[in-house]
């Protein structure tokens, strides 16, 4: 395989991770544990399929995907912020809910339990090798844009303050709940875009098509120590490992299973503090009084 193919393949695998990891970073920096990325992605993929199928336009599909992620993000936000439910439990519940809801509507809309009919996608030209897909560029830009937002704008400063010390933020008149609602909603929309990319790229929705990618993104967030750019680099690294693993399948060099372990092994190493201490936002997961 030539290096260029390796690069395009890596990017194609990385884009869903990049969107989801950005979504994870923004929610967690505001103090809300983001285990629900998988659910957002799945919802995004299904909503995009539905929208594209009925309108014939992937752009409409993209909007529907964002909307789906927004709805699930708001459910998550409502449960964790308003009703102060345990954030880990809610995250897992959102994932299960997404599986159930998409499966239900898959049956209802397309009378199938496995996949949707074929839909349109972005990037018609084979010569462009996917580089004419606007979602590819959005995915690549998501991390630098998020970094600018977090570190260079006043709202970013407030998000970081809320995730570290919500009482301090509240004492100067910042609405902690508002910042968190916005962050989790944004998280849902961003992660959903990862699912949108998947569905449009494969020109269909299949049951549980996200297949654990949301959890790889969670690992990237931790491995990237809650920084958008480092998390994006982690996504690229994980995607490169996956590409390598695909290439190694059928060869005798090394069992491909070992290569697929790379993201998880790296995350465990990161959590164990080998490459600098991974210090989460101080108020992460605390529901408050």
């Amino acid at each position: 395989m030539n290096p260029f193919d390796f690069l395009t393949q890596t990017l194609r695998i990385a884009i869903p991770y990049l969107f989801a990891a950005s979504g994870g970073v923004i929610a967690e920096r505001a103090g809300i544990i983001s285990l629900s990325l998988e659910g957002y992605m799945l919802t995004g993929a299904f909503s995009a399929t539905l929208g594209t199928f009925y309108s014939g336009s992937p752009w409409i599909g993209l909007l529907c995907g964002i909307l789906g992620g927004l709805v699930f993000g708001l459910i998550h936000a409502l449960a964790t912020i308003r009703y102060r439910a345990d954030q880990v439990v809610v995250g897992i519940a959102i994932n299960l809910l997404a599986i159930g809801v998409t499966r239900f509507f898959l049956q209802l809309a397309f009378e199938s339990s496995s996949n949707s009919p074929r839909i349109e996608g972005f990037g018609a030209s084979a010569a462009a090798r996917g580089f004419d897909n606007p979602l590819l560029w959005m995915g690549l830009l998501s991390a630098p844009v998020l970094a600018f937002f977090l570190y260079k704008t006043r709202y970013g400063l407030r998000v970081r303050a809320v995730g570290e010390h919500p009482d301090a933020a509240a004492s100067v008149g910042i609405s902690v709940a508002r910042i968190r609602y916005l962050s989790v909603a944004l998280s849902g929309m961003l992660a959903a875009l990862g699912g949108v990319f998947l569905a449009l790229d494969q020109h269909q929705f299949t049951d549980q098509m996200t297949a654990g990618r949301g959890f790889i993104a969670v690992a990237a967030v931790i491995f990237g120590r809650w920084d958008p750019v480092r998390a994006a680099l982690a996504c690229l690294l994980f995607a490169a490992a996956e590409t390598l693993q695909i290439q190694l399948q059928g060869t005798e060099v090394i069992a491909s299973q070992f290569v697929s372990m790379i993201p998880y092994v790296l995350t465990i190493i990161a959590l164990a503090g080998v490459v600098g201490r991974a210090v989460p936002p101080a108020a992460l997961g605390k529901t408050g009084e």
């Binding site: 704008t153 400063l157 970081r160 009482d167 004492s171 008149g173």
Partner: protein
């Protein structure tokens, strides 16, 4: 202050006027008919025991809570029931006891948070820094704008808190227990700052329960008890004893140092008492040699401490918090591993023994943070009283309910825990009574060595008095006590010898007679250091 405090008939002269304030939380009446009148340009001390309603009153002032009844006037304007942002806009600044600072952000970012300067959609960091530096210069509160809060000392962090309120234009400053974490020189510096603010026309409300501070700095005093305002005194016309009496509603044995040394000879087990002189040639109860304890990042938090305590002796450790006291106590209790050195309890080496083994060997421990280590807040008082002693209260592997409740009944009575109900969760008690539960469990059993870490932190005067007398009784009964306290007065009032801890080592060890606040202060901030063993 240029003019003397005018008579209370002159309405406009009041910066704050709260009248007939009522506030209930469920069945608890935090404020009943509370009154607070603060004249513009004065330093006003608001004192009272824990749970007296001071904080609630200040939360109402700051807009965090709305009163059920009563009126609040600020600068002559009726603002009853206003919001936090109204209060900030009207120039009220609250410096909370627990710092409201985001440790990962810089000084400047914390100060401007919520009112960030913006240019072209971006947060203007340069302008934030320069504005903060200008304010710092103007007020004399020295900070460096671009340092991260995590890297600051407590004193510096407090300056940031004060600057934060001044940045928002505060003219009325409320400080909640500001000196709890400061060393004596830092306290003096704070007083200078507060006096300067007063000279500039600022009004200051100081919440505290340290009477010496009240006398030092305030112009007027309001005393609260059980939600009510019980006295309004002019500082120049009152004494600590009068204030203490108003606070608890009866006469209190003040443990100020002079009184102790005056009483020493006649008090059983008091400082300078001869009762246990016989023990000087007995072997020591606790013996620590060259102890090294590592912090979470591999730093030497305790760096070669040697000490020994005889039965019937209290060794007090003074020092600014964060100089290794916590790690020392935790290592002695068995909660933290020792990197090197040894710990001997009644002659037996326990350096590598577990917490349980040390406890059964006669070690008791009053931990510094009762919520984190001392109690399980959702357990009943009875259950909290047998924590760690379950073995003794079990028969054939089952907890013996009858024994546990009779133990609870006995302890509640002996340690005056209120309300006297064994089934209440610990959470329902006031700070002072929670601490009494811990003290009862640790001191109401057989022990030979007691580690008492911040034993009276955040408890009221009545409970302080009670716990102090228990510690003296323990000494009289021949127990060895290691006392760590951020309250210098407490260390001086109770200890036979005083060690000063600075950067993980003993900078000085003095007999209490030679230890004065000034001498200790120099060691506490590292101006002087002798390599000392206690």
């Amino acid at each position: 202050m240029t003019t003397p405090a005018p008579a209370s008939t002159e309405r406009g002269a009041y910066a704050i006027r709260m009248q007939g304030i009522d506030k209930s939380f469920g069945p608890v009446r935090a404020n009943r008919e509370a009154t607070l009148e603060v004249v513009t340009g004065e330093i006003h001390a608001l004192v009272g025991e824990n749970g007296a309603g001071k904080s609630t009153l200040m939360r109402i002032l700051g807009g965090l809570q709305k009163p059920d009844a009563g009126t609040l006037e600020v600068n002559g304007r009726d603002v009853t029931g206003w919001t936090t942002s109204d209060a900030i806009a009207a120039g009220i600044g609250v410096v909370h006891q627990h710092f409201m600072l985001v440790s990962t952000l810089t000084v400047a970012e914390n100060i401007v948070l919520g009112e960030e300067p913006v240019s072209g959609g971006r947060f203007d960091e340069a302008r934030a820094n320069s504005e903060v530096e200008a304010l710092s210069k103007e007020t004399g509160l020295k900070v460096s704008a671009d340092r991260r809060i995590a890297d600051l000392s407590v004193g510096e962090a407090q300056r940031v808190e004060i600057l934060k309120t001044l940045f928002r234009g505060a003219r009325i400053l409320v400080l909640d227990e500001p000196t709890a974490v400061l060393s004596p020189p830092e306290v003096r510096e704070l007083w200078t700052v507060l006096r300067r603010l007063r000279e500039g026309g600022g009004t200051i409300v100081l919440i505290t329960h340290r009477l010496d501070e009240v006398i030092d700095i305030s112009d007027t005093i309001t005393v609260m008890r059980a939600g009510e305002t019980v006295a309004r005194l002019r500082t120049s016309e009152t004494t600590p004893a009068q204030i203490a009496k108003a606070m608890v509603g009866r006469d209190v044995a003040l443990t100020s140092r002079d009184e102790i040394s005056a009483l020493g000879a006649s008090m059983p087990g008091g400082a300078g008492s001869t009762e246990f002189k016989a023990s000087s040639d007995m072997s020591s109860a606790l013996n620590v040699t060259e102890l090294v304890v590592l912090g979470s990042r591999g730093t030497h938090e305790v760096d070669g401490v040697t000490l020994s305590i005889r039965p019937g002796e209290i060794l007090g450790i003074a020092g600014v918090e964060g100089n290794g006291q916590t790690e020392l106590i935790e290592a002695l209790a068995g909660l933290r591993p020792c990197a090197s050195g040894s710990i001997r309890l009644d002659g037996h080496d326990v350096t590598y023994k577990s917490v349980a083994e040390r406890r059964s060997a006669g070690l008791s421990h009053i931990p510094e943070d009762r919520h984190r280590r001392g109690l399980i807040l959702d357990y009943s008082i009875a259950d909290n009283l047998v924590l760690g002693l379950q073995e003794a209260f079990s028969t054939r592997g089952m907890l013996n309910g009858a024994n546990i409740s009779s133990n609870a009944k006995r302890q509640i009575e002996a340690f005056d825990i209120r309300p006297p109900s064994a089934v209440l969760p610990a959470r329902a008690l006031s700070g002072g009574n929670q601490q009494k539960v811990v003290v009862a469990r640790e001191m109401g059993r057989e022990f030979s060595v007691l580690l008492a870490s911040q034993p009276t932190r955040g408890v009221d005067v009545g409970a302080i008095e009670f716990i102090h007398s228990r510690l003296r009784e323990a000494r009289a009964a021949g127990k060895a006590v290691l006392l760590v306290s951020a309250e210098l007065n407490e260390v001086l009032a109770l200890s036979d010898r005083v060690a000063v801890m600075y950067r993980g080592r003993f900078a000085a060890v003095l007999p209490v007679a030679e230890a004065t606040e000034d001498v200790l202060g120099e060691y506490m901030i590292g101006m002087k250091t002798d390599e000392a063993v206690a």
